[in-house]
Amino acid sequence: MGRISGIDRTYARNDLVRNKVVNIALGVVLVLSAFLMATGAMVTERLTGSVGELFASAKPPHYLQMHKGDYDTAALERFAAEHPEIQSWFVEEMVGIDGSQLRWERPGSAEEGDFSSSLIDNLFVTQSPDFDLLLAEDGTAPRPDAGQVWVPVAYEQEFDLQRGDELQLPLGEGHLSLTIEGFVRDAQMASSLSSATRFVISEADFAALEESGTGEPEVIVEYRLEPDADTSAFQRAYERDDSLPRNGQAVTYTMIRLINIFSDGLVAGALIFVSALLILIALFNLRFVIRGSLEDDVREIGALKALGIPDREISALYLNRYRWMTLAACVVGGLLALGATSLLTRSISTNYATAGTGVWRFVVPLAALALVYLVVVGSCRGILRRIRKIEVVAALVQGSVLDQKQTRKRALRQAKRARRSQLKGGTRLNARLAAADLRSERGQWVLVPIVFALAAIVMTIPLNLLSTFSSPKFVTYLGAPQADLRTDVQWSPELDSVYQGVLAAMRADDRISDVRPFANEVYEIEGEEGWEALRVQVGSHEAGDIEFVSGGSPEAGEIAVSVLNADKYDLSVGDTVTLRDGDRSSPHRVSGTYADVTSGGYTAKMQGEPAAGAASYVIYADTADGETPATVAAEYDESHPGSSTLPMAEYVSQTLGYVTSAFKNAAIISFVFALGVALLVCTLFLKLRLTRDRKKMAILYAVGFSSREIGRQVLAKTVCCALVGTAVGVVLTATVGERLVGALLAATGLGLDSISFLSNPFLVYLLYPLCLVAAGCLGAVVLVRRLSRADKSGWLRED
């Protein structure tokens, strides 16, 4: 490179001045690619770091088993003694209180409220002894004095609670007033996918609660295992032992971690995916720009070759330009990512912990940026290999980058095309000329549909995911039928009477139709190691209620199981499974499997009448035409204490609210970037294309076409390519994209198998893509408007 090392700076400078718009557009696309890649990498690093930090301090259990009712402490002690892999264990006692019975008020102000709008279980506990700690912001495990309470951080945000606020709990006939001392993070129940949240109170207050019979007592048996212990084997051993408490959900450490990482991991994954597509767009652009530059400079290249300058050094003249541009883009993108990451990870820091500044905090984003740099520069190097093929005589005499073979091939192609008239009739000449151009220069114009297809995917996949997670119909993936209202009865001392009360009221209410009650009952299923607890929802399951991955709704004598249960018990449709209810056991045929992310994903459904004495009840109902679900739900919530009625949209928003709100940012970023990239690339492409087509446009002008007509031809070509590309992108999203996302979600192991996009087709498949086309065409319109002022006679005189 030595001999012409001075020239490359001149070349780069001249190119920057000559192709200002093109280089700026290219630079911005590269900056966006680097920015998203670095942001995605940093969010991933912060998320794993923060979750890791919280896990390291809070030490969540490796295995836990929930249980309601009496249990045999001696059996637990015996089990612990028989298992040396247990490092530590304890039984956490909890009191669950319905959100509507929990009131808060701010002393000295009129501000007050309750937690009735929250669907998740409110569990009151004392601080754990040495693991599964609930941590304050400074990482310490608070042990409140009598009269104090530490509230979950999620509630701090949701209800805008402050330190010093008063929290009132029901206590027998009266109430217990506690002062909020602070907010705690909960490794076990941090995720919004968790169905419960824990409040820490003093031993004395907890004893008072228990004694008063307030709420519903529940326990979690928690185990911390030796580092090399096999958790699955441990779980099997636990479930094999009939004497141990196990009528609730069992959760492993891996599952806790997975659920915690899911929502923010989804955001990071989306950002990296979008970044990969943007890099692809940048590479296509680079290919177009570099090839164009070689065509423009072919005579100089020919001269340099004639002087004996090696191809490698000529190539370096161009490569250095793109090396510097990519490096600068990576630096700018990296700096922008720093700001964006702190915005995107704010919720991570709040819910988990602020991870320490380790070496990975620097290595991960730098590695991501290095990857972008290497991919881009490597591709440029590949494109510049074309210089080797340029022949001196062809370059100097004909100004052609093609060698003899390529020239012959092109001439043959042209000759073949010339045999056919492109004009035929006299009408729609502008359209015919535009079409002829697209046919003969498809190799150039193909950039536009490719970029628009990729931009459409960048735009529609995150939007589809967002609308899927926000859709009220998404409950069909949560193992629940689509309905307007959902009533939960689970934390009332008079569970059955509250349930019967709500059910009777709903059935008598003209505003409500299609009331479907379900009872959550605990059965036993024969697993590998013996009888295990199985939570079954019993009721009238109608066909089409929920989405089945395979099979369908259960009839009498049948059972449908969630994907995770099907995997766990190795069940598929048509298999027969024996269920035990007390002393009675009966065979059930598996009618279908369905996706479910609630209750840890281990659920089942059976046909039957909901019987009294169930662990909890759920009632689904629709509202009559003209009735607002929110109003009806609020009324029932108020008039039936001990039950919680919510409009289904609210239920979904609460269950997946954290996922949705985190993902909203990623979807907005993708939407804006897709529009921006469409605009930039369209401008870049047309700027170069119009420069190369000057002579052609001047000829048309001389022949009698107005500037406006010539501009319309350019616009028609652009719109046509943009529409085709966008349509291809949208179709790919709806087909391959849906399958890809489904496979990725299935791979998370959360039981979200075979997901279909639930979106408003008008918005996602029509309006948003049209915005993309419009953004692209905006650049075209601006450039085309300049045509009328251009000196066309000068274009004809250009060499």
């Binding site: 095309r417 010339a418 045999r419 220069e441 001389a702 022949v703 500037s707």
Partner: protein, 260 residues
Amino acid sequence: MNETIDTPGTPALEATGITKTFFTTDPPAQVLNGIDLAVGVGEFVAIMGASGSGKSTLLYAISGMDRPTEGTVLIDGVELTSLSDVEMAKVRLHTMGFIFQQAHLLANLNIGDNVLLPALKADPDNAEAAHKRVRGLLERFAIDHVAHHATTEVSGGQLQRAAICRAMAAEPSIIFADEPTGALNSAMSAEVMDSLTELNRDGTSLVMVTHSGACASRADRVIYLRDGLVVDEIALGKWTPEAAQDRELTISSWLAGQGF
């Protein structure tokens, strides 16, 4: 200094006070300094001058391809400088034809389509007539056998004849030619000049910029530009093959007098 040139008969083109300044340079470059030029109906005028004298700039300024900085241009009684983009396009289509140094045919159309394009554009509702006219032109200029050839498959002379056919396709009243033989060898130049002379003989007015004395000798009148001004002109009358040699000698000595 404005030069007024008397023209025989009714003017097909009448340009008055034409100036052209390019503001893209610093300081701005005034290339035309106030030229008056009239071209009679059926007249063949050649514009000569040294490189940079403003010949092509004048041609494009009076033909509507470019707008003069000052001055007016009347073609068939229509004042060009005040026309809109669309109106100007109509004038270029129906009234004018252009021939350039390079043939400047559209590479993605075959020879026939290149000629057909202005014919169809001028009369879109009568495609059959346009096709017929184009066939006639191609036959007349002996390139009908290459009508379905690509622009890369024919000779330079055939390309330039195709360009002449294209200029004639919409039956204009005046043709502007910018060094139409500049890129051709002498045999092909003669071919093209024969074609242009024939056109003029049929009544089409012609304004041609050229460096070549031989080509200029075909014109009825030759004007000479220097520093953006018309400094001299010579009237030769209609060309005949017999008088060709004498006219070339006359032009040569006249040009020598201009310091060309």
